[in-house]
């Protein structure tokens, strides 16, 4: 870990200003990912702006009938919130399937969205990684990539986004609210928040420099059966090989979003029209354009089989 300076922000706008003012600054909230990355010198911020004191830790109703989740609401608290459990069950289930109790107690809503990939080459500073060191190459292509992306990949990067929570937010059409140093606020649809890697896998979100997430807004509840099916190599404390966030309405229509497939939560709205036609048709539409390796090709049949299981569960 490199030495860094530290400050505690007292307002969101001030935090954003501090980030603009200090090159190489980073916000820190729960620190469950950032501190690990700093120890390994994958992230080497000169300055940390602690946003824990900003008061953004409330879950409040919106005038549209939805919920506004403060950026600092801890994963444990969000998962346990009665309104979330009742109306956004997929989100609650996704949250509790991730990490461990201790991590969820620390991890925040905004921080969870901003998690960085678990690609092993990103984590190893002696290896090429375009995300960590732009232009150095991608060691994962041609390397150990069993759990890496099959959708939306590029020649520069096949990393996945590791979050479970973000997959559920994607299926719920959440909106990410931000503020910048000038005090301007922005509402970014979750679909546009995370980016595909393209030629710049180091740029992972549509946040501008210094822009701070203040909340995630969930639209009015849409009813339906909420399912989060996470498929993994052990029963707990493992990242998804694939995951399916589903909200299924009577009659079999609904929405599906996927984790473990891409650089962002993966959702193909057009494919959802195929849901009444069954798992095979749906998976085929979701996975159009997939690019696999010999190690991760199993994800395609796994998606189809898991969609099938989710459809069965919704009927039950």
């Amino acid at each position: 870990m490199k030495a860094f300076t530290y400050e505690r922000a007292t307002s969101a706008r001030e935090a954003a200003s501090a980030a603009i003012r200090t090159p190489g600054a980073k916000f820190i909230a729960g620190g469950t990912n950032l501190l690990d990355l700093m120890k390994l010198q994958i992230e080497t911020p000169q300055h940390l702006i602690d946003v824990n004191g900003l008061g953004l830790d409330k879950i409040t109703p919106t005038s549209e009938g939805g919920l506004r989740v403060g950026a600092l609401v801890r994963n444990t608290d969000l998962a346990a919130d009665v309104r979330v459990r009742k109306d956004y069950g997929v989100l609650s289930r996704a949250l509790v399937s991730g990490a461990s109790g201790q991590l969820r107690n620390k991890a925040t809503t905004a921080g969870n969205l901003l998690q960085r990939t678990r690609c092993p080459y990103f984590y190893d500073t002696t290896k090429p990684c375009n995300k960590r060191q732009p232009g150095s190459g991608c060691a994962a292509i041609g390397g150990f990539n069993r759990n890496l992306a099959v959708m939306g990949t590029s020649e520069a990067c096949i990393a996945t986004h590791p979050s479970d929570m973000a997959v559920a937010m994607r299926v719920l059409d959440a909106t990410v609210e931000t503020v910048n140093a000038a005090g301007q606020t922005r509402a970014i649809p979750i679909a546009d928040f995370h980016r595909l890697p393209g030629a710049t896998p180091n740029i992972e979100t549509s946040l501008a420099p210094g822009e701070l997430i203040t909340a995630v807004t969930l639209p009015k509840p849409i009813g339906g059966t909420h399912i989060y099916q996470k498929v993994r190599d052990r029963a707990s404390y493992a990242f998804a090989l694939i995951s399916v966030a589903a909200v299924i309405q009577p009659g079999g229509r609904g929405r599906l979003a996927f984790g473990g497939l891409a650089h962002k939560p993966w959702r193909v709205e057009a494919a959802e029209a195929q849901m009444p036609n069954g798992a095979k048709a749906t998976a085929s539409a979701v996975l159009a354009g997939a690019r696999t390796t010999s190690q991760n090709a199993f994800k395609l049949p796994l998606v189809e089989r898991t969609i099938g299981a989710v459809f069965e569960e919704a009927k039950a």
Binding site: R118, P120, V231, A235, S236, Y237, P301, T306
Partner: protein, 730 residues
């Protein structure tokens, strides 16, 4: 004391303290954080500086240059030690690769430098500032690609043969011929390799985390070219080893070099988790071929087990066929062990080396055979039981209750409820299956010494360099001394893990429990003699009980006998050739129920049950802990563990506990453990055998067999991850 004839009645038979489920005597220290581990010796080595190792970024080649200017100038950095300024170093016989690279690099993450600084963060940041230029040369990292180049190892028993395997196999009515692979595995004990080192007047003190204290002194002596007398090693508490701490590793050597570079001030150094995987040793991957031929009645007529593994030049093989030489009858048999040169980090012993991976193949092949014979897998094993060494029928087993384990285990588990046809049992989405396997592990004994004293308060103190690597050595040694000297447990003090104490067996190969307590037995017998002689008692009828020494109608308290000066005696147990005249091994049977998700192919163990025969169980509570821990390790080996080699760079790529999976709590169900009532008089005066590794042997195959029974898919490439299953499921 020489142990060369079977034990007769002795004081251990009282079983007042021995054989009882005593809590760990060190439990309170551990649960309150007051047991000082090697990295936490502020009490003994205050004001320690911190060391951090920079490992090689290449797997094979040469260090061209090292620029340490920025590192040396970094805040807090006190010293940088590399091969250029370390002074002359040797290579210990126990080490395959050198502990410090340079100029040649032998494997990825081999230590290139240690940076010593005032704080841990400064040392680690300093290491990042070292600029090392390497000249990389091509290496061999792929076992399958190197299989054809494998050769016969020079030592051990690489080839065994009895009868005419080829002829008998060709003629066999029912045959199995299958190939199996097991991956490289990392020990991944909780406490990484850690050392605090300090020098004074040319003498080195090491507080280190180590299983074998006398070996540690020897390894350090050979590495630092220092007399053994100048090295003091202490390792009273060890946070797990599993074989990775049988020898000192770079943490000890580099901490010692770091301390020497700053004038002897203590330096503490713990390997980072990725270094545990790539800087130290691992269990080597294997390719195995099993051929079994049987008559229609199930009797094995031909059995062959071949194994290929790799290691650095000068290293050794994984002896996977070990168990196959002794487990089942069969007149025609052969094994072959072959070794390829690989430039991966050093391959070496991990819990139950040989058997752990060998049984993953053998016991899966037996399941195949049972199915082809349409015979119950338990019955197949009973039919092929042998009471003699099948390679040398004149040599009997000292004790062998495999059949008892099979029957008892099957009964406890409810094996008779198994549907032999795969894929028939469902529980909602889950396909449910049952599988079983035999457990087998050699019983090894090692010379072991101890010193036992009594003071004027009647307190018995045992000192031996034996280690407790989480196994319960403190407790069973205390139980042994209490039983032998006739005192309660709270009158016994056990001091372990110090090279100034009598040399012991150490902990490894499941020999530690039996051997070290036998050494304490020997010392206690000597002390009893000393006491009896001092009191003028006839040593043949003397009884030690209730804190007293009794003979005829005379009775003297131990404290009185000890007097102000106290009494003490030292002895060791030396094992004769009973292991040659008798085959000595431990046995068991594993029964497992698994669920396979019919959609996703996820495999989860639902319950596990095992029966084990391993001589006298010295403490059923700590023995059970050993077995359930080993069963848990077996779940990992079967379902998730595997160090992935990136053959482009020659290293294990999933080098932390987020990516190298071991079972989490949620993976482990109810575990039932039953110990057969057994004494083995030919093993030691304790009549005990090893129990630390047996529980791992065979369990993975039982899981693989249960997976087959659940869903009809046989996977012979461990671990059984779902990607190997879903493509072949209905």
């Amino acid at each position: 004391m020489k142990f060369d004839t079977p034990a007769t009645a002795n004081p251990t038979d009282r079983m007042k303290v021995l054989g009882q489920p005593h809590d760990r005597v060190d439990g309170k220290l551990k649960t309150t954080g007051t047991a000082h581990y090697a990295y936490e010796r502020n009490d003994a080595a205050p004001n320690a500086a911190y060391g951090y190792i920079l490992g090689s970024a290449i797997a094979k080649g040469r260090i061209e240059s090292i620029d340490d200017a920025d590192a040396k100038a970094a805040p807090g950095v006190l010293a940088v030690v590399t091969y250029q300024n370390a002074g002359k170093l040797g290579k210990a016989k126990n080490h395959t690769a050198r502990m410090l690279a340079g100029p040649d690099v032998q494997h990825y993450d081999q230590a290139v430098a240690v940076v010593v600084a005032e704080t841990f963060e400064q040392a680690r940041a300093g290491a990042k500032l070292l600029r090392v230029n390497y000249a990389r040369t091509a290496g061999r990292f792929d076992l399958a690609a190197s299989q054809a180049s494998a050769t016969k190892p020079k030592s051990g028993n690489p080839d065994t043969a009895v009868g005419d395997f080829a002829g008998a196999f060709a003629k066999a009515a029912v045959k199995v011929d299958e190939r199996y692979t097991t991956p490289d595995q990392s020990h991944m004990m909780m406490e990484p390799h850690s050392t605090t080192a300090a020098w004074k007047d040319g003498k080195l003190t090491l507080w280190t985390s180590n299983q074998m204290i006398a070996w540690a002194v020897g390894d350090m002596s050979e590495t630092l070219l220092l007399p053994k007398e100048s090295i003091h090693v202490m390792s009273p508490y060890v946070g797990g080893g599993f074989g990775s701490k049988l020898w000192v590793r770079s943490d000890a050597v580099m901490a010692a070099l770091g301390s020497r570079a700053i004038g002897g001030r203590p330096v503490k150094l713990a390997l980072a988790r990725p270094q545990v995987m790539n800087n130290t040793t691992h269990r080597p991957a294997t390719i195995q071929r099993l051929r079994i031929g049987a008559q229609k009645d199930g009797k094995i007529t031909a059995i062959a087990h071949e194994s290929w593994s790799g290691d650095l030049p000068g290293g050794g093989p994984e002896t996977a066929p070990n168990a196959t030489r002794l487990l089942y009858a069969g007149a025609n048999r052969m094994t072959a062990t072959r070794l390829a040169v690989l430039d991966l980090p050093e391959g070496n012993a991990m819990r139950a080396p040989g058997e752990a991976v060998g049984l993953l193949a053998l016991e899966a092949a037996m399941d195949d055979l049972a199915e082809k014979l349409q015979m119950d897998p338990v019955q197949l094993r009973i039919i092929n039981d042998t009471q003699v060494d099948p390679e040398k029928p004149s040599r009997q087993f000292s004790q062998r209750d495999l059949v008892g384990c099979l029957k008892t285990g099957a009964e406890r588990f409810g094996w008779n409820k198994r549907n032999a046809v795969p894929g028939q049992v469902r529980d909602g989405r889950w396909l449910v299956g049952m599988g079983m396997a035999s457990a087998f592990r050699d019983n090894v004994t090692m010379k072991s010494g101890a010193r036992v004293g009594i003071d004027k308060k009647g307190v018995v103190t045992v000192a031996t360099d034996m280690t407790d690597i989480g196994t319960g050595s403190y407790t069973i040694i205390a139980q042994t001394a209490a039983e032998m000297m006739g005192v309660p447990m709270d009158k016994v003090i056990v001091l372990l893990g110090d090279s100034s104490f009598p040399a012991s067996s150490g902990s490894g190969g499941q020999w530690g429990g039996n051997s070290s307590t036998a050494g304490v037995y020997a010392a206690c017998m000597a002390l009893r003699d000393t006491v009896a002689r001092k009191l003028g008692f006839n040593s043949t009828d003397v009884v030690f009980e209730d804190g007293k020494v009794k003979s005829g109608n005379r009775s003297v308290s131990l404290s009185e006998a000890a007097g102000d000066a106290g009494l003490s005696a030292e002895d060791s147990i030396e094992f004769g050739d009973l292991t040659k005249t008798y085959a000595q091994a431990t046995f068991g049977a594993h029964f497992v129920e698994v669920g396979v998700d019919s959609a996703t192919g996820e495999i989860r163990v639902r319950r596990m049950s095992g029966a084990f025969a391993a001589g006298r169980i010295l403490n059923p509570k700590s023995a059970r802990s050993q077995v359930i821990g080993a069963m848990t390790m077996g779940v990992g080996a079967a379902l998730m563990e595997g160090a992935i080699v990136d053959t482009r760079f020659g290293y294990f790529v999933n080098h932390d506990l987020a990516e190298y999976h071991v079972p989490a709590h949620a993976d482990i169900p109810m575990q039932d453990v039953f110990f057969m009532d057994e004494l083995d008089e030919k093993s030691s005066p304790m009549k005990a055998k090893g129990i630390g590794e047996l529980g791992l042997c065979g369990v993975g195959a039982a899981i693989a067999n249960a997976v087959y029974n659940a869903c009809g898919v046989r996977v012979r490439e461990y671990p059984l991850t779902l990607d190997k299953v879903i493509g072949r499921m209905a």
